[in-house]
Amino acid sequence: MSELCHESLLKEFPEAQWDEAAGAVILPAANARTIAEWLLASGWDYCSNVTGVDYLEVEVKEKITNDAGETETVPRIEAGRIDVVYHLYSMANKTGPLVLKQRTGREGATAESLTPVWRSCDLQEREVYDLFGVDFKGHPDQRRILMWDEFEGHPMRRDYTEPFDYEWEPTPHAEILAKHQRGKVIV
């Protein structure tokens, strides 16, 4: 099973990066499709799970050693991004998973569609498009899937704010929710 692992992929395509913390291969935007085709050919026949992860722009404080040899805390702004995550398995060899990620910015997010390679991405990429707003290049039928066509916004993004609920009614529950929203209930 030695060949069905991320090392062989990295060896074949050096431009792909290995993210140790997440245990995932980060595909380069340019040839994601090529890599996917190579992966399919090399035995990863089953793409189980496709999803998006939204990372907001965050300020990370890192301790670095400056020129003077002292450690100091420097704020660094990490740009927001959206990861499209693919979990691959091999049905023939019963191994897995191999996690692939496509990284894209939050604004005008685009990714390479892997639906032509694995049909199972079809509905799931549509879902990522619908909920995260990632535009999949080469997807055969990219439409909204769970929300209706006229819906605006992408609800799974972390900065998504709910629009006014036109079905709102003054139920007693509103009081509770208001309390939760005021942050009085700390979780």
Binding site: Y46, H87, L146, M147
Partner: protein, 382 residues
């Protein structure tokens, strides 16, 4: 199968233009298993175009879970596939347990297997009932199925307090031990179940109408099935021997002797999908018998606090749910809430091939193909 579609093109070419009948089957339709819709174009009775439309039950389950603690999401998993709340619980617990490293006590493991297999029985037996109902039987097999399901749901209620929304699994074990006498009642049920299956098989499996209605309908080739990520009994009906209970051997499935039925992949039609489920029930009964015989006494839950902060990590846990591979993808960021919580819904992904299977068939075929896919809209729409 493709001939009908081809004939339709032929007619168009010859200038004999006929207008197609467009039908929106659903969301309120007797046989779309919930609020599912199929936009169908018919040439006579032949389906020439089919577009599944769903999302009517969408509640953004994943977003909800991102805003609450790990434990609080557990009751929401019941509502995914509301037929199989126990296995949903297990899949989520399995994924979360990868984050927090906890030892599941022996008794809890056995009870998990028992619950999961009982759930499988519930799911398959009702699915077969609904499937035959879609074929047009007047609910007789469905009523028999519901009778057996009621018995199992009674057991679930005694163990967890609720019949369908069990909310029974916890990270590191189960919420509470089963009440006294529960195991004996389960044994009694399991012993009786094969007799019911015999009767069910006698009623259905050789019926000429069922045979000719289901065989050769909705063929799904092995290659397409794998490529389209179809899982569960549907995949095995297309000739792939892939059962996560064997492949991953999660829980303690490696301790039980059971077989995985699958086909040789020549047909992969509705009949195969129906039969694979019938056969799987027998294997579930075999597992249940072993588990009920071996179950030890002991603790029911490992040492886990109700609210915990796992280390930042990404995990993907999956189990063989009755409908297919049910996976949970969790990203922990060191807080009490998951940063990302994703459900891999087998019902949704199995729907990928719906159109491929339905085209060229009759409208009645589309209905039974949908029935044989076995979807639950709570899971498709989430």
């Amino acid at each position: 199968m493709i001939t009908a579609a081809l004939n339709y093109e032929l007619l168009q070419q010859e200038g004999l233009e006929t207008s197609l009948l467009e039908i929106s089957m659903g969301p309120h339709h007797p046989s779309t298993h919930g609020v599912f819709r199929m936009d169908v174009k018919l040439d006579g009775e032949t389906v020439v175009e089919l577009r599944p439309v769903f999302g009517y039950l969408h509640r953004n389950h994943e977003k909800l879970a991102e805003n609450m603690t790990y434990l609080s999401s557990m009751p929401f998993t019941d509502r995914l596939d509301y037929f199989n709340s126990m296995t949903n619980n297990w899949a989520y617990a399995l994924a979360a347990e990868k984050l927090i490293e906890v030892e599941v006590p022996e008794r809890a493991e056995y009870l998990r297997v028992i619950m999961a297999e009982l759930t499988r029985l519930v799911n398959h037996v009702t699915l077969v009932g609904f499937f035959i109902n879609d074929l047009g039987a007047l609910g007789t097999p469905l009523m028999y199925a519901f009778r057996e399901r009621e018995k199992i749901l009674d057991l679930f209620e005694q163990a967890s307090g609720a019949r369908m929304m069990c909310n029974y699994f916890r990270f590191g074990g189960l919420r509470n031990d089963v009440p006294e006498g529960w195991l004996d009642r389960t044994r009694e049920l399991v012993d009786r179940f094969p007799a019911f299956l015999d009767e069910y098989e006698q009623l259905l499996c050789e019926n000429e109408i069922i045979l000719s209605r289901t065989q050769g309908v909705g063929n799904l080739s092995r290659e397409l099935a794998i490529n389209a990520g179809v899982t569960g009994p549907m995949l095995r009906a297309s000739g792939v021997n892939y059962d996560l209970r064997k492949v991953d051997a999660y829980g303690i499935y490696d301790r039980f002797k059971f077989r995985v039925p699958y086909t040789d992949g020549d047909t992969g039609d509705c009949y195969d999908r129906f039969m694979i489920r019938m056969l799987e029930m027998r294997e579930s009964v075999a597992i249940l018998k072993q588990a009920l015989a071996d179950i030890p006494e002991g603790d029911i839950i490992g040492k886990v606090s109700k609210v915990f902060k796992p280390k930042p990590a990404e995990v993907y846990g999956r189990i063989e749910g009755p409908k297919g591979e049910l996976g949970f993808y969790l990203i922990a960021d060191g807080t009490t809430k998951p940063y990302r919580y994703r459900v891999r819904p087998p019902s949704l992904i199995n729907l990928t091939v719906l159109r491929d299977m339905c085209l060229g068939g009759k409208i009645a075929d589309a209905v039974i193909i949908l029935g044989s896919i076995d979807i639950v809209l709570g899971e498709v729409d989430r």
